[in-house]
């Protein structure tokens, strides 16, 4: 069984709504291999922040329209800062 990341994404849907963009075309525009786009789409690889932003830029949408992270309540926890 594949090791899934908790980050989910809507890349497949966004590709479909952007003239059925192929994985190869998205990969070319982001500057990664098609296999990496496939791995991200299937949740087998969490991309770097830079690649995530590049993918969002290709679709012309904010980052959290492409990637989501499950809300387990930790977002309400107060910041832990030194000092």
């Amino acid at each position: 069984m594949a090791k899934q990341t908790r980050v989910t994404n809507r890349i497949r849907t966004l590709r479909f709504t952007h003239d059925e963009m192929t994985q190869a075309e998205l990969a070319r525009r982001v500057g990664v291999t098609r296999q990496t786009v496939l791995a991200i789409e299937q949740g087998r690889y969490s991309p770097s922040l830079e690649v995530a932003f590049q993918i969002a830029h290709v679709f012309g949408v904010p980052l959290d329209d492409v990637f989501q992270y499950p809300d387990d309540g930790s977002a309400d926890a107060p910041d832990r800062r030194d000092g």
Binding site: A2, K3, G31, V32, Q35, G43, S46
Partner: protein, 140 residues
């Protein structure tokens, strides 16, 4: 399958095939006598040379077969490569305890050299396997 993943398969295959070839050649050259009495130095050097040649020739063949993929290495490939090299390095460090111990015990060179060759092979196999698992099962 990406070019880098094919390269990991190639490296794994070259390490396994040449080590098995080395053991078989050593047993054949020993001709029923203890393997330590066979001409192990030339056999081992030949196996190491064959491993290097196989890896290099294989990479060239892969590059010629799919020239468009040959220079496509992205951030995921680099991260997976780093993980594989780390796992291989740890394996080598642990496996090298054996030849180190053999040296301290002043055992014959044949056993020390063979333990080192096995350690290098194990590191190559485990490191490549770690990369292939990351490619196939996922990498976070």
């Amino acid at each position: 399958m990406s070019f880098e993943e094919k390269g990991a398969w190639l490296y794994l295959g070259a390490a396994v095939v040449t080590y098995v070839g080395y053991v078989v050649a050593l047993l054949v050259r020993a001709g029923g006598a203890p393997p330590a009495d066979a001409p192990w130095v030339s056999t081992m050097l030949g196996a190491i040379a064959a491993s290097v040649v196989l890896s290099v020739v294989g990479q060239v063949v892969l590059g010629v077969a799919r020239p468009s993929e040959a220079h496509q290495k992205d951030v995921r490939d680099e991260e997976i490569n780093r993980r594989g090299e780390f796992v291989g390095g740890v394996t080598l460090g642990v496996a090298m305890v054996v030849p180190f111990a053999l040296t301290l015990l002043e055992q014959p060179h044949v056993w020390v050299a063979n333990a080192m060759y096995l350690a290098f092979t194990l590191a190559a196999v485990v490191g490549s396997a770690a990369k292939l698992v990351a490619y196939r099962r996922g990498f976070r």
